[in-house]
């Protein structure tokens, strides 16, 4: 029988497993293989494209297919599949793979394939003469030739256990983790692993100990066989029968783990689904004894495996059955960048810095406060704005103030520019985002911009030490209107209640309110000239906001200047008004309003006239 795996073995990896594929390619490199072992990736849920992997230091493209038939058509030389499908789809995917005659070996990684399905896979595979490794396994490895998926781990382990070149010891085990341990033990006591297979921990593995041991028996390069069995199942007895029948003649070192099971009072299900003794025959102790009686080299305890192995190895070395060869030189495999970063071996400056929130941990956090605490402490919308905009949790009255501003600025009817824009865009049949953005785009110096402007003008006047009258006179001299002063309709006798709400809140809650007081006095001056030159809501909010930042003691003067200059008030207005714009969008949608066209008679056409 030709070898199952060799230096030119080509395989498909079924499922999205970049890390495993890269691991296989790195192994190929270490072994000095000329071509990568992974010919293609089959992934039914992704679009067909190519995956970028490293072949040594250069990148290579491995094609990706959605259907097995397409992959098979493109790569008739592939005869191995490493199947990473989940336990729910492992059966159907494997049965499909078995329809294609070119495959000789399929490794099924998933744990949890129902027992009946595993038997059906086993039966069909036998009919088609395909070797199934698994399910519920990490796979196996043939040094110098091929590595199944994640077997053998990282390259440092491959190098330490000399798995990049063949030795003379072939093993078969149920456990993936323990087979990696065997790699280590064998490397330390002999000339190394020739081939190793982990058949998996389920009750009905596709191939069992005897299947692989017979392969090793038939392969002249395998000189010693190691069998790591387990409590549960009767597969070890089939090996004993084969020895008695003379089918197996090579020396076998074996041990069944799980000798402790008999010492428990009630039955304990160990980690592997198959490791439960259904009868006395299936206990580890019975099997160890039976194997020893049949002439298998069984140590007294698991810990003594290295001694027993070393002994038989030395014997075969002396007799000339095993000939040690010179160690080949190992190519240097560059460390994967992400892995090196994880190990702290390299560093590189990041392209971005972000300081307000962190989504990487087990819990989302805003400025360091975990999201659960955000709710536990009931900090509200104001609190969230405080954390994400200012990176600190301001006192309660500030949070309430922020929320109040958002509520006050939420909407100002359909007639204002922004709302009108939104309405017209919605009526043009556009989506929410487009309609919202259309409204937001009107926010600027004339609409919504009064907040920023009045903050700038008032604080400028205040910091220069101008009296309210001086401020008003200076602005008049410069022919500038005072942003934050003036209203179309409202006046002293018919006040804007929004402003009253702000003034009330400041009076009641702020420890100091120099700016608002200044602004109110400015209003005294301006309203003496004209009744409607009241402090409007923009002026009130921006002055109160400045007061908030000063009074809470959480900001330096420098910071306050910077925040205002960077547009935090603009941000507040935008945040609040978004509520209204979305409202208008939904409203128009609800009304199923049609496309808007402005009436001609409301436009003065001066086309072609000299202006």
């Amino acid at each position: 029988m030709t070898e199952l795996f060799h230096r030119k073995t080509r395989a498909f990896v079924y499922g999205m497993q970049m890390r495993a594929c890269q691991s296989m390619l790195d192994f190929d490199n270490l072994c000095g293989r000329e071509t990568p072992s992974v010919a293609g990736i089959i992934y039914p849920f992704g679009s067909a494209k190519s995956a970028k992997l490293y072949w040594g230091t250069t990148e290579t493209l491995i094609p990706q297919y959605q259907e097995v038939s397409k992959a098979v058509e493109a790569h008739p030389e592939v005869d191995v599949v490493v199947n990473f499908a989940s336990s729910r789809s492992a059966y159907s995917s494997t049965m499909e793979l078995l329809e294609f005659p070119q495959f000789r070996a399929i490794a099924i990684i998933a744990e949890g394939v129902p027992e009946r399905r595993a038997r059906e896979i086993m039966l069909k595979a036998k009919e088609k003469n395909v070797v199934i490794i698994g399910p519920a396994t990490v796979g196996g490895i043939k040094p110098g030739c091929f590595k199944i998926g994640n077997t053998g781990g990282m390259m440092d382990n491959i190098v330490a256990s000399k798995l990049y070149r063949p030795g003379s010891v072939a093993y078969v085990s149920k456990s993936g983790g323990m087979s990696n341990e065997l790699n280590n033990i064998i490397a330390q006591t002999t000339n190394g692993v020739y081939e190793g297979v982990a058949i998996g921990g389920d009750r009905y593995p596709g191939t069992t100990f005897i299947d692989h041991i017979l392969r090793y028996q038939a392969d002249p390069k395998a000189k010693i066989i190691v069998l790591l069995g387990e409590v549960g199942g009767v597969e070890e007895y089939r090996v004993i029968e084969a020895i008695k029948a003379g089918t197996i003649t090579k020396p076998i070192v074996a041990w069944c783990i799980g000798t402790v099971a008999g010492k428990f009072k009630t039955e304990v299900q160990f980690g592997h689904a198959g490791s439960m003794a259904n009868s006395q025959l299936e206990t580890a102790a019975s099997k160890n004894k039976a194997m020893a009686d049949a002439g298998i080299l069984v140590p007294k305890t698991f810990e003594e495996i290295p001694e027993v192995l070393s002994e038989i190895y030395q014997k075969l070395l002396k007799s000339g059955e095993i000939v040690e060869t010179a160690e080949p030189e190992i190519p240097k495999i560059p460390l994967d960048y992400n892995w090196a970063r994880q190990l702290g071996l390299v560093r590189k400056p990041a392209n971005f810095v972000s300081t307000i929130s962190d989504d990487r941990g087990s819990e989302l956090s805003y400025a360091g406060m975990p999201i659960s605490e955000v709710f536990q402490q009931d900090i509200g919308i104001g609190g969230v704005v405080s954390l994400l905009w200012f990176r600190r949790l301001l006192p309660k009255y500030c949070l309430e103030f922020l929320e109040m501003v958002i509520m006050l600025t939420a909407d100002h009817g359909p007639a204002v520019s922004g709302a009108m824009n939104t309405i017209i865009t919605t009526r043009a049949g556009k989506d929410l985002i487009s309609s919202l953005v259309s409204g937001l785009l009107t926010i600027g110096p004339r609409f919504g911009g009064a907040l920023d402007d009045s903050a700038r003008e008032f604080s400028n006047a205040f910091s220069k030490g101008w009296s309210p009258r001086e401020f008003v006179d200076t602005m008049r001299k410069q022919n500038k209107l005072i942003p934050g002063i003036g209203h179309k309709v409202k006046s002293r006798n018919n006040p804007d209640l929004r402003v009253e709400i702000v003034k009330e809140f400041v009076k009641k809650n702020f420890p100091e309110s120099k700016m608002i007081n200044y602004a109110i006095t400015v209003e005294d001056v301006t309203t003496s000239k004209k009744d409607n030159l009241i402090l409007n809501v923009d002026g009130a909010v921006s002055c109160a906001f400045i007061d908030m930042m000063h009074s809470c003691g959480a900001f330096s003067d420098e910071e306050i200047k910077e925040y205002l200059a960077n547009g935090v008030l603009n941000g507040l207005f935008t945040l609040g008004r978004t509520i209204g714009f979305i409202g208008h969008h939904l409203d128009q949608k609800r009304l199923k309003s049609g496309l808007y066209r402005h009436p001609w008679d409301d436009i003065t056409y001066l086309v072609g006239e000299k202006l």
């Binding site: 781990g153 330490a160 010492k263 160990f270």
Partner: protein
Amino acid sequence: MSAKSIREFDGKALLAYFLPRSPIFGAPCTAEYPQLAPKLAQLRFSPDASESEIKEVFDKAQACYPWLTESGARFVCKPDMLIKRRGKSGLLGLNKTWEEVKQWVGERAGKTQQVEHVEGKLTVFLVEPFVKHDQKSEYYININSSREGDNILFYHEGGVDVGDVDAKASKLLVPIDLSKFPSDEDITSQLFQHVPEGQRSALLNFVKRLYAVYVDLQFTYMEINPLVVLETANGIEFHALDLAGKVDQTAEFECGPKWSIARSDEQLGKALKDESAVVTVDNGPPMEFPSPFGRDLTPEESYIADIDAKTGASLKLTVLNPKGSIWTLVAGGGASVVYADAIASAGYADDLANYGEYSGAPNEAQTYAYAKTVLNLMVRGDVYPNGKVLFIGGGIANFTSVGSTFKGIIRAFRDTKDEILKHKIRIYVRRGGPSWQEGLRLLTDAGNELKLPMEIYGPEMHVSGIVPLALSGKKFDIKPFGVTPSA
């Protein structure tokens, strides 16, 4: 997840629903199977249930199952908790009126019972109609799975004294390829030689239907003993007087809906629906997989089983002896068994407190939860004069990151450091695999910082070498991690 035992109640409910329905293999059956609501009453009590609770359970049962209070009706009552050989342990009430049943069950409900060397509380009972019959109408049937296929065992003399069935029973192997299901002639000649002629055809139909259910619902084991075959005026009736079954829990994604629908209130013919019931995944309650009698899952084991079910990684915990002084936190289904073996070899099997493993690359948070659970169990109760031992072990991992799993373990240490010191816990570590150096280094630093007594080894140490090192004083030539060998 693997093959797990189910209660007799659940097994019988599945049969009642699916015997008439599951698709048959081989030649079609010659007669229909009656679709009847089963008469099965499950009674559940709290451990140490009060008299008033017991009465409440009976009252509710009477309302749910009107057939319990039919005049002249007689019943069988027994605990339904995966206890074997109940008849021999005096745990079987036969031919009782409903009043007598209440008496019998009431005496045992919620109370401790010793069965062989295990003790537990009797909390779940099954009440069914008593089937009057002759000894000679008791048969034995068993279906079990093996690598070659499914084995059907049949013996014409069933009952509690059936003896060694393996030796006596007639056997039939059903191959895995069900298109090769044996012919009616083969089945009859293999199994029913000692059965009266008049019953063979009905028995054939029944066995084929039984096998159909076995396959359809992915049983891995089913034993009916005795199977009572009654020749009545209406034809031949089959009664499974006792049923032990195991189904493949990994098949839940395929069979879950089937397992559920057979046990819904409607199918069970309940007159009183459970209004408070939560919304279930399928049209009926999820299948129950009870722990072996006397081995209820502790809150900690349930917690870990929950996490295990939600991830592709594997996390398993079984508390063997909560008062034990030797605890393990081992990675891998194989290595964890090797450690248990080594601890038993050293003579400490009775002191071994837990069996468990984590593998398949659990993340830091999952490993933290796992380690924290084990540590919490370790620091419960009294301080032992000789302290306790914790083995943090494992092989050389293939792809589990030692670095991130150990970070989880370290975090658990930080949370419990005072108790660890108080309970004089000595910690021994051996591990290899991806980023093992980082993992061991972080652990060493944490140990120094938290002043925890730790001996740490990398892959140079034999996989379970730290066990004889800790328990038998064995000496090794290998230096602990981070210690440079002296010149």
